[in-house]
Symmetry: C2
């Protein structure tokens, strides 16, 4: 039921993603045409304005909660949803549960930076966070970067509003000190203007800041492609030029288009969760499912679980 | 002395800005060639890593403090600086002083959104802010938008990570309630992806968030123009297309280029302050000075001073 475009779009993306190695299971309302895919009937619906924690408790047969349960109980390997991020987070927390030692699960998004892929964590799970949470996000991001992206000793940077240690808000100033005192390869602050250029391998921030930065980048890319088309097609010469640059522009768009990534991992749970954009297209859903499948193949959860305890950093306070 | 490119670049921009209506005065070290412009010798230098408040106290003859003094004492009309924002804020606060009723001065930046100019406030003066500060930023932004940009009943929106009132962090959730209870035309939250499209007339946020969003937009624009050029010039057809679209691309670039705006107003002080980018070019400095001159002509400070007390909103707590 998740996603702004309705269940048919989700089913279409799942059909596109299905292969010998991937068997999508659709969790949704009775009567839904799942086009031959396995169908688990989940009649409850979590609305965008439901309070996440309440909704997860009150609606155990919503598609999100039922799908998380199937992963928690080992019947499925990964859950992919384009529904409310808050509800998905609550469902993951309550139904799948956290890995030992994890204070707060966080969303890790792979940014298509010029120097190579970089992990932004947290991209929206924790709107308010404490310095020790940021330290643990850095650790989870590093393990993810090393194990899944294959980056050796991933460079960690802290997203702030100036490169100097004392530039930032109370949260980043305290997090800077914790990161500098940890055994992570911490390279100081990074400003949001460098996120698409050279942001390091792992960029750490609270979920509010990460979401603001990510959506500012996405919105700017979309607005710029639209405005550029408008500006250059004002003249005949520009229209011809527009045709000639189309292949190059498409390559760039393809590299930057969030639909090509499809989603982001929610890291720190005992099962794998992929969060897709609310307005995901069929192609975005397909790619989110492929991302989920790669996460299963790379055993993201197992590797985080194995390496988190060994590297729980100095200063991290485990919550009961 | 402010600015990453050295005093000569600042002088060049000031020479370009000079006219019958604008008489730039250069505050800088002895021996500086001010190319005929009035020169006030200010030998102290505030470094980027100086602690702002300490530096302002310890270096009364720095260019920033001396220039603020000249505005505070009415010898100049507006001060423009590309130096450390923190030091400029501290100098403005201490040497020029706040307008009656103002808790925290804030940086207002005009965004070139598709639907028309919009004011983002605070763009970086207050890395940590409280809900009542955001309410006052909204008020200052509204007065600025109405009086200077000529927008009638400027629509106020709150920058957050979801459109619903309960989406955001503790600060935005509380600020949302204050804004909704005020007499401002508040239209709810706006997400950063809409900042260049349709963000309302006044976008309110703390200075950390505003700075993150602004620099993410600027960085994305710069990276995209660079990457697009690279992608399309890979083929001969693309190179030809690149030539043909150049006029349109230049128009877009001109509209979006921060150098064309030059700077931002620091609002809430008893004198006018324009903060320019640290790496301002000669053209950016020229435009920052023109922006300052427009602010003097429009009497930004006088209008804020006259209208702030009349509209000090419900819930705002004045600091002693």
């Amino acid at each position: 039921m998740g996603g702004d475009r309705g269940p048919a779009e989700i089913v279409a993306g799942a059909v596109d993603a299905a292969s010998e190695r991937i068997a999508p299971v659709i969790f949704g309302p009775a009567g839904l045409d799942t086009r031959g895919l396995e169908h688990v009937v989940a009649p409850d619906v979590i609305e965008m304005d439901d309070k996440p924690a309440d909704a997860v408790r009150a609606k155990p047969n919503s598609s999100m909660v039922a799908a998380c349960r199937s992963v928690g109980e080992g019947r499925c390997d990964v859950v992919v949803s384009a529904g409310s991020t808050g509800a998905m987070l609550a469902a993951g927390f309550r139904v799948i549960g956290r890995l030992p030692g994890v204070m707060r699960p966080a969303i890790g998004v792979v940014l298509p930076a010029l120097r190579g892929p970089a992990v932004l964590i947290d991209a929206g799970a924790n709107a308010d966070a404490r310095p020790e949470h940021l330290l643990q996000f850095a650790l989870m991001g590093s393990i993810f970067s090393e194990e899944v992206l294959g980056i050796v000793r991933a460079e960690v940077r802290l997203l702030s509003i100036g490169e100097e240690a004392e530039k930032g808000n109370q949260l980043t100033i305290e997090a800077h000190a914790l990161l500098a005192g940890s055994d992570l390869p911490f390279r100081g602050n990074v400003e949001s203007r460098d996120l698409l250029r050279d942001p390091g391998d792992v960029i750490v921030c609270d979920g509010f800041t990460g979401n603001i930065a990510l959506k500012a980048i996405e919105g700017t890319i979309r607005t710029m492609f639209g405005s550029l088309t408008e500006e250059i097609t004002r003249t005949s010469a520009g229209k011809l030029g527009g045709l000639l640059i189309r292949p190059g522009a498409r390559r760039l768009r393809g590299r930057l288009d969030p639909d090509n990534h499809g989603g982001a991992y929610l890291l720190g749970l005992k099962g794998l969760v992929v969060i897709a954009h609310g307005n995901s297209s069929r192609r975005a859903i397909q790619n989110a499912i492929l991302l989920g499948a790669r996460g299963v193949e790379k055993d993201v959860v197992g590797r985080l679980g194995a390496r988190l305890p060994e590297r729980t950093p100095t200063g991290a306070v485990r919550e009961p």
